[in-house]
Symmetry: C2
């Protein structure tokens, strides 16, 4: 019997004594790649019920069964933050999804803009990246990756109570900042490599829910901008804040 450091996302409900049947791919990973066998322990989570220590109770080439022993961590929900971004090259899109899961976004929304090239996106592949990031980084929550949608449509139906942090690369040095910004539900919008169109920029600037924030005097790639923007937000309004009572 070994206590492994493996963390595995599963879809099923978790609870004391609950058994979790494994799919073929999961069995291959646990028993083929990670060399676990019957009696070995690992950590599992489903994004809802926290993290559980589980034991391998059946191990086969095409399947297997885990049994939940006890809960080792509560569900830790990130703040109510959406990350909106315009998909870029495949590797950098994957990277943005991974980083959003690490940095604590609740929902990831790929959007098409006037200057976006890509019209298609494999939502399932991106969701798998978010799951892998949660497995690697000790997360108990997996952000939902939404289907690709038009930015203009999203703005048409924007929820009244959600603020939007608009990272406008043409506004270096002229931002409002987040220190005095309201708490509550937020979204961050990261532009495409070619920037936003004038029409988009005008619409975003006058929207009552928009807060324009600059990401410094240098031009950042979209993936860098995503991490930097989430850092500023988490430090000012999210769960990186030093003192909950402040501001």
């Amino acid at each position: 019997m070994k206590e492994s450091k493996v963390r595995l996302y599963v879809a099923q409900e978790l609870g004391a004594g609950q058994t979790v049947p494994l799919e073929r791919e999961q069995a291959h990973y646990l028993f083929g790649v990670m060399r676990l066998s019957s009696g070995d322990r690992l950590a599992i989570f489903n994004g809802r019920d926290g993290e559980w220590r589980a034991e391998v109770t059946e191990a086969g080439k095409r399947g297997g069964v885990l049994t939940c022993l006890e809960r080792t961590a509560k569900l830790r929900l990130p703040p109510d933050l959406w990350l909106l971004f315009a998909p870029i090259k495949k590797a950098r899109t994957d990277f943005i999804v991974e980083k959003a899961a690490e940095m604590g976004a609740r929902r990831i929304v790929p959007v098409t803009t006037d200057f976006t090239n890509s019209e298609r996106l494999r939502q399932d592949r991106l969701q798998a990246h978010a799951i892998e990031a949660a497995e690697q980084c000790g997360g108990t929550f997996v952000p939902e990756v939404a289907d690709l949608q038009k930015l203009s449509h999203l703005l048409d139906t924007w929820p009244d109570d959600r603020n939007l942090m608009f990272c406008d690369e043409t506004q270096a040095g002229a931002h409002q900042g987040l220190d005095a910004a309201p708490r509550g539900p937020w979204a961050i919008l990261i532009g495409p490599e070619g920037g936003f169109s004038d029409a988009e920029r005008d619409r975003l600037r006058v929207a009552p829910f928009t807060h324009v924030v600059s990401l410094g005097p240098r031009i950042l790639r979209a993936d860098t901008a995503a991490v930097a923007a989430m850092t500023l937000w988490q430090a000012a309004l999210g769960d990186w804040r030093q003192r909950e009572g402040a501001a």
Copy 2:
């Protein structure tokens, strides 16, 4: 004659009327890949003399000559910030160097720690990554990538006037913060994937130049931590500050 958007780093001095002979690889990139020819314009920089508009005055398969027309941007030096990091997998190490150049580090220092695996590093390849990031992101400065060195040696010879931001993943929520930290020369230290050893952590904690800073409640990969730490530093102490007079 076309005004291209190409930005090229060159090693030579730049000044009005100055000619810049091209190496074979540069000629291949400009004339083979980017399809420039005689009379076309591009931007060049050398990390010291700002950005210059240049004209192609000779174009050949194995070489060529550019001539400087006029300066289009002054040298923009980033703040005096070093990024120290323990090299990780190749792709993520490349990424950290790229991000340090984008985020505005002055110097990039790969270090070996008690838990670092890699003992070798291609400094020239990493330096090329920093140059490429500056070319892509409109930079006029290229951070120097130092040779790999031992963290313990670096701490033995640490300069008196340089503060160190120590991102300690075991200190979530207990950080000092940067708001009251002194300005001046700084370094950021990002740990290896296995964390720091107890001996390293003890030494860093008691050093008079160390400021312990937490990067939130979730575990971040080293490349994410590097971007997040540089964001916090630039926003609090660097050139992302909203009001120069504040604090």
